[in-house]
Amino acid sequence: MNIKSALKYQIADGRVSIPVFYLVIFCLMALIPISSSGMGPEDSMSIGGFEIATIIFLFVVGLNSFRETFRMMIQNGVSRKTMFVSFLLLTLVLSVGMSCINEVLLWIGKAFTAGKGNITFQSVFEQMYAPRYMGNPDSIQMIAEGLLFTILACAVAMMLGYFITIMYYRLNKVGKIAVSVGVPAILIIGLPIFDAVVTGGMIYRALGQLTLFIMGILNGYNPYYAMVSALIAFAVLAGLSWMLARRAVVKD
């Protein structure tokens, strides 16, 4: 009963932001015929990447899903465990729901641009794993794998946002400053300098290879590598978030 109410509350929390997000996407799609009308025969246009916008949007949703919700839940006798489980369900609902909507938008976009050789409407997934579906574009297999890939990417992004926001909530003032300054300083200044001066670019090369590996690019463009990696990342982030959430207390 409580999980249902908590989930209902969290879904209602996004009743404005989600329609606004899709309104923007819809407006962008509506611009396609206008912007393509002035194209000459030598011009070409590539459209896509809406799922990246969805992933970023859900990351922001995750970032905004703790503080106010936690206070509201605690006020209404909802345990931290129920609140966390309802967030996991919310992640599932939004990731699946928005990925499916993306798939429909992709299909509409493709339908509109069909027959126009100089306009390509593609998802990021299609661009990344193009060699896997060579000669078999828009197959059921590609649609299903693309959908699964997007769902998992959305879920990881949302959980990452949630983890960051709980971590900040739990940190004291000094900790917040240390993380806010330390992490960007290491990633933007420390690591590149260290890599260039000490390891001669080895770290970034290794990170690049690791990224290609976990995305399955090095393994015959196999998206299941990315999906398994996403599942592991999700489990780790969810575990860490729960460790932080279970002892969170109300702050003034």
Partner: protein, 283 residues
């Protein structure tokens, strides 16, 4: 066992011991006054019972069930806090809607009627309410939940005399319709003295009194009369306080007094809770 049982609660904030081995029971269907000076640990105790913070040690049981992180147990409680825990942009009517969602026993009609009586505009955003109306909003929600254990932390903060009176009346009406347990944490002792049945006094994180208001007040008395007569009557007695007006005096005494030993013109009266509280909680 019905009621809320608090067992050996300890809570420290750094070097400050907010709760020290606190054990007490809030019985079913009674109105408690939780009294203590600023920083005595009243809010910490209520926050611990309602799971907002964790104790360092000890347990809280609601109707015999461990309360911490237990939805079923926590759904039997509702706490009206001094602070606002509702989202920034939420409107009063939405808070009502969501409280009804989380508390199935919520009485929406009663809530609307009470809001109308208090003149609370439910279309307003919670953050735009004045301090007084902020308290009224939370009081109305709390009373409407129909949860069996209600906690009021400084319930009349910012309320004018009329609204304070309306609140006490609403509380007693609700209680006489269907009894519940109410714990009122407040500084306005004189005002709640007529409402509470049981008194819990907390001092520096320790419970120093936990008994019925009647029993507690029976531990002292007042003597009134002319200043000279009162002065002579209170000699050798433990005087908790004295009020003087013109040539008349009222002295607050600890312990019982034998009326036969008093000089003529002296009247013995009931102890004043506030005076007793000041005496008990003074450094």
């Amino acid at each position: 066992m019905k009621g809320i049982e608090v067992r050996s609660l300890d809570k420290n904030y750094g070097d400050v011991r907010a709760l020290r081995n606190v054990s007490l029971t809030f019985e079913e269907n009674k109105i408690y006054g939780l009294l203590g000076r600023n920083g005595a640990g009243k809010t910490t105790l209520l926050n611990t019972i309602t799971g907002r913070i964790f104790p360092d040690s000890g347990d809280v049981l609601v109707d015999g069930e461990a309360a911490l992180e237990n939805d079923k147990a926590q759904q039997k409680t509702f706490m009206m806090s001094e602070k606002n825990f509702y989202p920034e942009g939420m409107k009063v009517k939405d808070a009502i809607k969501w409280t009804r969602e989380f508390y199935p026993g919520f009485d929406e009609e009663y809530c609307r009627n009470l809001a109308e009586k208090f003149g609370l505009n439910t279309k307003k955003k919670i953050k735009s309410l004045s301090t007084g109306y902020g308290s009224i909003f939370k009081l109305i929600l709390t009373l409407s939940t129909n949860a069996p254990y209600l906690f009021f932390d400084e319930p009349v903060l910012g309320l004018d005399a009329n609204h304070r009176d309306m609140f006490y009346r609403a509380l007693l009406e609700k209680y006489s319709d269907k009894p519940f347990t109410a714990v009122i944490s407040t500084h306005l002792i004189e005002e709640v003295a007529g409402v509470i049945e049981e008194v819990v006094i907390i001092k520096k994180g320790e419970i120093i009194r936990n008994q019925s208001a009647e029993e507690l007040l029976a531990t002292g008395c007042t003597v009134s009369g002319t200043a000279a007569a009162v002065d002579s009557a209170i000699q050798g007695k433990t005087v908790l306080g004295v009020d003087s007006l013109g040539g008349l005096k009222t002295a607050y005494l600890a312990g019982e007094i034998d009326s036969s030993t008093l000089p003529a013109g002296i009247e013995i009266g009931k102890m004043d809770l506030q005076k007793l509280f000041i005496h008990l909680t003074n450094e």
